[in-house]
Symmetry: none
DNA sequence: AACTAACCGAGACGGTACGTCTCGTCTTCGC
DNA sequence: GCGAAGACGAGACGTACCGTCTCGGTTAGTT
């Protein structure tokens, strides 16, 4: 019976948050500034997002360029190459990269957000990646015993590592080398994993 | 003639910092509380460490159990296994794991600390790991074209990824699967990397 | 053509306001809580009362025990004694006293309400009190030059003063002493006042 | 051993508070604005004053024109006249009057402040006033049975009443009439009060 | 009987100030 | 002059209410 949530205000806040993220980065973003730019009250943000991390996550996600899906190109290597190239291209925007690094950082010190970040952001990407490997197994590109869960760690682990540590660039050369390495690992016989899954 | 830096106070602060890290985690640690527990002034901490991240880093490092070196066991696989097993054992202490995750998080939002963290903490570990692969190449275990820099990313990337995301355990099974995969990647022929090094 | 004001809702709000005043005092009363207790919307309150002070004033007034009239006992002293005794008896209920003190406080910081409070609440009491003295002059109890307006200040001033400051009790002894003093002042010859009236 | 309270900052805050009181009145004064004008942090104000009412009280008191003492003119009437004339003159500055009315209002809704206001502000004035009557009794101007405590209520009560209600001006005519009335009351024989004192 | 305008409950909204928190710097005094 | 103690400026935090607004749903009185 009450007034409905204003979609316009919802969008204004997301846009304001996105622009603040761009200009100041995750750390420099404050609820106060987002509210002011959106012409919104702080309470409205706290009501719907509960705080800065969830707002930043949704604001990041709302940008179409940050919604990476994995296209089926017909081969595992092709899927990986297409996806990872788009990914590193997106991350070459420094502020965008700092934002998602900031979200990962927040997850380290905020257990409540860690769960949301994993479930809303990381797991969907993992699931899509695992599907690529599973499809590869069905097509006979990869041995049936290949462990898609582990291979996903092998792909995303080094990408995140370079993103967070910044010791070397995330570029095409890195992507190619990573694909070559992971494909080699996938084709090697190795026992299936036990005990390393989410419960 | 100035009074000299008090070694006793230095140690008291490190101990206090370590105990606060244990009890409250990296985020919950404040300079104020460390100073109080150490019976020290805040200025003393700012004078010698410059801030919370550097103090936490040194306090973490000062614990002997956190100083991992890589022993030479005669084979790459053995070196990796020995080192990684010790590593995951240390990280199975939740608070210890949260501390170094917290340091990584801090590095994401604090560029000055990011440099120190990389140079003082991460690079030495990388260098030791690269040495393992280089030694393997010398011994003929690995092809001479194997890219030790990339292989280091392949090892540490997934470890950090699981540590930070927490989607699956860091345990013996994971270590074994990781070693098998990376060894397979190392033995596969792949072009050497270009342009992915620190400048 | 339109729906009429619901008397039931009107009463529910007044009752809710009275109970909140009792439990939390004037300061602790919020429109939000009154609305919730009454099962009413906030807008309904703002529509009919305009805000918290007017609501509190009407809620206070709606309680029969707070509607003091002055009975004619045949003598000024008797009128004063009867009225003031009832008054201090009502004010000995702490929360009731706090409510009217709160209304006076509100009037200090809210000019719009100050006018309403004076006209709806204070002036009627003053008028009744002045009538007592005028009647006394007609009956020859007081000199014709006695200034009923000033005498009203002399009566109500100290009562409000003790109510607001709380340095000494509002009790029978005080009432007697006050009456004695004011009667003495009334009988003394003193020039009529100039320039101290409402315009 | 620690840093001492900065007298300069103390004064800057009091001055800023006084100027805000002048410009915006008690209600419109906010800690935030006072801090900003004084170039101080909000915490500094909360540390030393605990909140707006105590700050406003001290800021009001710090203005020399608000420190009314009662001079000995040789007669009770003279003392009263001199003091009350100065008092109403000070209160004829509207903003000054609103400030002390605001303090009295605050005391109605803030029991902790009520105590401070009574003890630091009201009681000293009462004590001085009582001393005037006691001196009058010693000099034989007033009967020895005159109740100085009650007479103080009779003086200050109507003054506060007019200040707070604003139904009539606080001017010289009012002062004269008040003095005449209270002197008449003081000279009339009336039993000493019982049970109307602070405990 | 259908229309329709105002009333009602609910509660989202833009604001504003609150009092708290922590940061990193600055000042004072004891050793 | 080092070091403890802690005051200081700064500014974001999350909360509490304010008074306004927008919803459906619910009554009356017309038409």
């Amino acid at each position: 019976m009450a007034r409905k949530r204003s979609e316009q205000c919802h969008l204004a806040i997301l846009e304001a948050a996105a622009s603040v993220l761009d200009e100041r980065g995750y750390l420099g973003m404050t609820i106060e500034e987002v509210a002011q730019r959106a012409g919104a009250g702080k309470q409205t943000i706290y009501r719907w997002w509960g705080g800065k991390p969830m707002l930043a996550l949704e604001a990041h996600y709302a940008v179409p360029a940050n919604q990476h899906t994995i296209a089926d190109t017909g081969s595992v290597e092709g899927d990986l190459r297409t996806h990872l190239m788009k990914l590193v291209a997106a991350l070459s925007d420094g502020e965008r990269a700092r934002t998602i690094a900031g979200l990962m950082a927040e997850a380290q010190t905020n257990p409540k957000f860690a769960v949301a970040f994993r479930e809303k952001f990381l797991e969907p990407k993992r699931a899509a990646m695992q599907a690529v490997f599973e499809l590869g197994k069905e097509r006979g590109e990869l041995p049936v015993l290949a462990d898609a869960y582990l291979l996903t760690d092998l792909i995303y682990g080094p990408v995140w590592y370079r993103l967070l540590v910044g010791h070397a660039p995330l570029d095409g050369g890195f992507v190619e080398a990573l694909i070559t390495s992971v494909m080699a690992a996938a084709r090697a016989p190795h026992c299936s994993m036990v005990g390393n899954r989410d419960e």
